[in-house]
Structure formats: structure tokens, C-alpha cells
Point group: C2
Chain length 367, copies 2
């Protein structure tokens, strides 16, 4: 493998000083890019892109051709694991993901088994290998999965939902069944992420898209406890480097202290979290990733730049900030706005560091 | 008007000691009740119920016939104000509220004017008058409106949304237009709530259903600032009594300190907020209302009772807790589960007070 030319992301995730604040964007390969839409039209569907390693590789690299981003993220779906479990992932036109066979009876739940990634998710692992070769060391590659709880939400409900009545009914009426699903999911996600690391992912992220629909006690019991189990089973070093793990719970800002104490290297914040307060609440214990409102990319470039500065100022100079949106970039975002954002984050965060008195820069002697 | 027989709610909202924890449920008059569905079928639609004072009155009282609730809440919609502004509220089958004429151009926004409640919302005021007569002092009546920001979300987007792209585009590209809408909305909501108070509402609540889609800074600027303007213009005493005002922001748990400092008598918490932490964060400055997950009503009765006790224990013995769900009751909830909930809250909260040593009971000498 080629040596890594730009390790700014990995250093920020390790809370080491960096010359500027690294930036990548959730869903940076996506529908706001005309070249993505063109390739998707040729492939026929999102899933065809995601399940064809050469296409997933091409799509993953598209945003890096336009913008000086500090990471690539595997182009895939958060629901590949339950798809490999046989639930039948599909996308209805213009809607979110659905499962053909949601988990609605106890027998089906008892039959659930963690898939063998090498056998049943090799299309993902092959994409990881191809992306690593294509990146040739430019920036690190982030692998990912949905969290055990978020997978369970879709597996039980069969689709996204504003309130997940089937899932919640199971949670309150048959918590034993939900715990069984979550246990299998935790094993499956750990094996899947370890296979991605083995194939070349240099950092991993767990997307807990729906953890925010739980009560505070429920979040501990049904989401965070199983994210911790995944973490405990993860390969933490590979190829001579630490493999940082990031946990993102949309709507999880109220539970930041528990997330920060969970052992993950970094916590992703959605755009509703007050970044300055978040930094104050967790101190230097973890890196923080976020948290610009994705809708800020609807603003004219000067406003985008002002919003970027506001976020950087709020996180402040403590090492360990990775700039990101607070949720995935939307199809309506303009590539020009993204260009302005990326430029401003790089320029302003570099200037922030240069304007600090040299004596206060926490830079290691070797730098 | 008849004297109030049960003022437990009003005393809890004033943070005075009560013999038990008062309880009402958001959407307590709704589709989980067979008698509601029967009346709605006869009326033809939700809006026909809401716009016919005699039917709105009948529906408002239905849950009180079944359960010993401590308040009635006006049966109406949060979007009556923009409907009276001419936007054309309607409900597509099986979907949420929509507007025929959403605010999409500057000219329409500049034409917007606060409606005169006596002229254009008299069906609501007449319902309030009829409900007060029908209640005959059994329990207090709560009036309500959507918050200026939540109204704006629907007015600009034209419907509910997972991410409100049209609203957010205006917020980031033309904040001046959004501020203009919010200013008109604040005037309109204040006049509307004052008219409800004049007609007989004994407490008022502002539902900020979508404030949680903002950043922390955005919540201050676009939601809370305008809720405060409403509050500043509210009639605070009527008919010899204080009229308490409650603010509920779904997803607002992170901003509890700002909400508690806003001057409202009580803050509604959704089910994601940790009640014990919330009480710790705001102390005795405000009453708190909430916050059982509405999905807990899918559980068998014994589990419902256990969840009710958990919520009561979390809020603790500080005076100023009003038991409620963390969001509206869902159509799938069972009336039997509601009965178990109401009974447990009454019984357990009474026992909580009785088990405390007499010396520590903060009871006024007159009680």
C-alpha cells in the first residue's frame, strides 16, 4: 500500500495538533454532484452503484476530484448487513430504504444470524480494496456501518418512519426480542467493520441515525450498550496504525457525556448541538466531528463562509475537531457552496492556528 | 363561571405543592378513542370537527368521561392562525397538514397580516366558551397555538417535512423574509391566545413542534426570540387568576436552560430528555411537563405502570411537575393502557408525597 500523504484526519481523530482543521462531508459522494447523477443513471439505481465495486470506487472518488477533502468515505449503504441477513433491501422510487421481509415474528427473529462478511458482503470489501488502490495514499478511507440499534429500527419497521411504531411496540412489549436482534446485530457489525479494516478502511464510523428516537435510559440500554459491544470487538490497530472509531447519533446531543465516555475516539455531532458547549462538556477526552447545518449549503457563498467560521470558532482551538456537516449533504446543495465551504474551512482554520501565540501552540517537538 | 373544583394543574404550573402529580395527555382527544373516531366519521373530517364549536366541545370532553384527567385541552389544530391568514389549511388523506398557498414569493410574504381573532377565528373562541360551560369547573381548560417558528415552517414549506428544505433555504438565503413572517406570526399568536384567554382558556401552551430542526444559535434567533415576544404580549392574569403559559419545543432538550430563562411558567419536555437531569438543570425556576415516551402506551398495563413510576421518580419531589407524554398520544395506543397510566400516576404520586417525612413536606400552612 502507498504511504499516506495526508494524515490530517487521523491526527485530528487522535486529538493531535494539525496545521488546519480536516474536513469531509457525510454523503460527500451523492446527488448534489452532476457526475454522480450521470453515473447513477447509467448504473440504473443507487443499489447497483453500491453493489458494483468498480462503480462504488468511482463514485467514492468523485468528490475528491472536485474538492481538497481530507478523507474518502466508502460509497455504500448503512443497511448492507441486514440485507446480507436476507431481509431484502430495496429502495422505492423517491423514498428511503425498505426491507421486503421485516422482522415481525419471533420465529424469524430466532433464525437471524450474523452474516460472514467474506462470503456475503464481499462486494463491499472489494470496493474497499479498489478504493484504497485508486486513492494511492492521497487521503485515508473511512469505512462504516449502521449501528446495531439503527439497523434494528429498519429491520423491525421495514422502512424509515417518523415514530417507528412497530419497533417501539417491540421495545415496550417484547424487549427480550429486541435485545436478541441487537445482540446479533452487534456481532454482525463488528465482524463487518473488522472485514472493512482488513480490506483497507483506515477509520470506521457507526451511523446511529435513529438512536435519537429513544428516551435517555432507552438510548443507554438499546443503542449505546450495543455500540460499545461493537467497539469492544473492533480491530483497533491495523497495518502499523491505530484505526480510529467514530460514533454518530443523530439527535444524541443530550447524551454527549455518555457517548464521550464510551471509548470511541470521536463523537459526531448533529447541527442542533451547541459546539462550544459540547467541547466544554467533553473537554479533551474525545475528538468531535461536525456540525454545520447541511441547509447552510443553500446560502450564497459569503454566507456559507461566515457559517463555516462560526462553526470553527465554536469548536475552538482544542486539538481534535474534524469539520463536517451535522447530517448528510442534501441533493439540493450546490457544488459551488461546497467549494466555498471547503476553501473557507481550510483557510480560516489555518489562520486560526497561525494567529495564536507560538508559545501556546500545543505542537509536538517533532513537528 | 363555575368555581374551579380541581386546580391541581394550575397549582403545579405555579410550582405550588399538590396532593398528587396532575396529568393530562397531549392529543388526549384523538384517534385512540373509539368515540372520537365515531364522531369524526359522522363529521366527515378532522377539520369539520375542529371548525364546528359544538363538535370541538364534545370531542374535548370525551377523554374526561373516561379518565380522571386534570385538564381539558381545546380540540383544535396548531395551524388555525395561518389558515385564518388565507393560506388554506387542508389535510390530505392519511397525511399531516398542508397549505394550498404556501409562502414562496416575497410579494405574498409582504402581504401577510395578523388575523383579527374575533372576526376570523371565532369558531375557536366559541368552542372555548362552550367547553368552559360544559366543563362547569371540573378541571381547567388549556388553550394553545403553534409557535411563530413552527407556523412559519408549515407556511413556507407547505407541509411537514423531514428537513424543511424550502424553509431552510429562506433561513439561509433570505433571513430577512423569514424574520418578517415570524414577526407577523408573533403578533398573530399573541392576539389569538389572548382571545382564547378572554373566551375562557385558563392556561395556554405554545407548541413548537419543529424548533428542534434548528441549530442552537438558530433556535434562539428564529424560535425562542419570537416565543418570548408572544409571551411579552400575553394577558397574564384573567378572571382573578394567573394564566400560566407553557412552552413545548420538540427536540429542545439541549436548550433547556434558555427555555427556562425565557419567562414561561412551564417547559414541556419530549421523551428524549432525561427528566432527573432536566430538573437538576433548571432547579425550581420553572415547572416541567412531561415526558413519557408515547410508545410506552403499547406496553402491557404492568409495564405502563412501571414506566409511569420511573418518570415520576425521575422528576422527583420538587413541586412543579405536570405529568404528560413527551409527544402526542398515537392512534395505536390502547385506552386500557391510558387508564393504567392515569391510575398509576395518581396513586403513585400521592404515595410518594405521603411517604415523605412530614417535616420535609413543603406544604403551605393553609393546606
Amino acid at each position: 500500500m502507498s504511504p499516506l500523504e495526508n494524515d490530517t484526519l487521523l491526527r485530528a481523530l487522535a486529538r493531535e495538533p494539525t496545521d488546519y482543521t480536516p474536513l469531509w462531508l457525510m454523503r460527500q459522494a451523492g446527488r448534489y454532484l452532476p457526475e454522480y447523477n450521470a453515473l447513477r443513471a447509467r448504473a440504473g439505481s443507487f443499489l447497483a452503484l453500491a453493489k458494483t465495486p468498480a462503480l462504488a470506487c468511482e463514485v467514492t472518488l468523485q468528490p475528491l476530484e472536485r474538492f481538497p477533502l481530507d478523507a474518502a468515505i466508502l460509497f455504500s449503504d448503512i443497511l448492507t448487513v441486514p440485507d446480507a441477513m436476507g431481509l431484502g433491501l430495496y429502495f422505492a422510487d423517491g423514498e428511503g430504504p425498505r426491507f421486503e421481509r421485516p422482522l415481525r415474528d419471533e420465529a424469524a427473529i430466532r433464525r437471524l444470524a450474523a452474516p460472514d462478511p467474506a462470503a456475503e458482503l464481499d462486494y463491499v470489501l472489494e470496493a474497499v480494496r479498489q478504493i484504497r488502490r485508486a486513492l494511492a495514499g492521497r487521503v485515508p478511507l473511512i469505512g462504516f456501518s449502521g449501528s446495531p440499534y439503527t439497523l434494528a429500527c429498519y429491520m423491525v419497521e421495514g422502512s424509515g418512519s417518523s415514530d417507528f411504531p412497530a419497533l417501539k411496540k417491540m421495545l415496550f412489549a417484547r424487549p427480550d426480542l429486541l435485545h436478541h436482534i441487537l445482540e446479533i446485530n452487534a456481532q454482525a457489525v463488528a465482524a463487518y467493520l473488522n472485514a472493512q479494516i482488513e480490506a483497507g478502511a483506515q477509520a470506521v464510523m457507526i451511523f446511529d441515525t435513529w438512536g435519537g428516537n429513544l428516551s435517555a435510559a432507552g438510548y443507554e440500554e438499546y443503542s449505546l450498550a450495543y455500540a460499545r459491544r461493537v467497539l469492544a470487538a473492533l480491530t483497533r490497530r491495523h497495518d502499523g496504525r491505530k484505526v480510529p472509531a467514530i460514533l454518530f447519533t443523530k439527535g444524541g446531543g443530550q447524551w454527549l457525556e455518555s457517548m464521550a465516555a464510551s471509548g470511541f475516539d470521536a463523537i459526531g455531532l448533529d447541527w442542533t448541538a451547541d459546539a462550544a458547549q459540547a467541547r466544554h462538556r467533553v473537554g479533551a477526552r474525545v475528538a468531535l466531528q461536525g456540525n454545520l447545518d447541511p441547509a447552510a449549503l443553500y446560502a450564497p457563498p459569503e454566507r456559507v463562509r461566515a457559517e463555516a467560521r462560526r462553526v470553527l470558532d465554536a469548536f475552538g482551538p482544542t486539538p481534535g475537531h474534524v469539520f463536517n456537516l451535522g447530517h448528510g449533504i442534501t441533493p439540493q446543495a450546490s457544488p459551488d457552496a461546497v467549494a466555498a465551504l471547503v476553501d473557507e474551512v481550510r483557510t480560516y482554520s489555518r489562520a486560526m492556528r497561525e494567529s495564536r501565540p507560538a508559545a501556546s501552540r500545543a505542537r509536538p517537538a517533532s513537528a
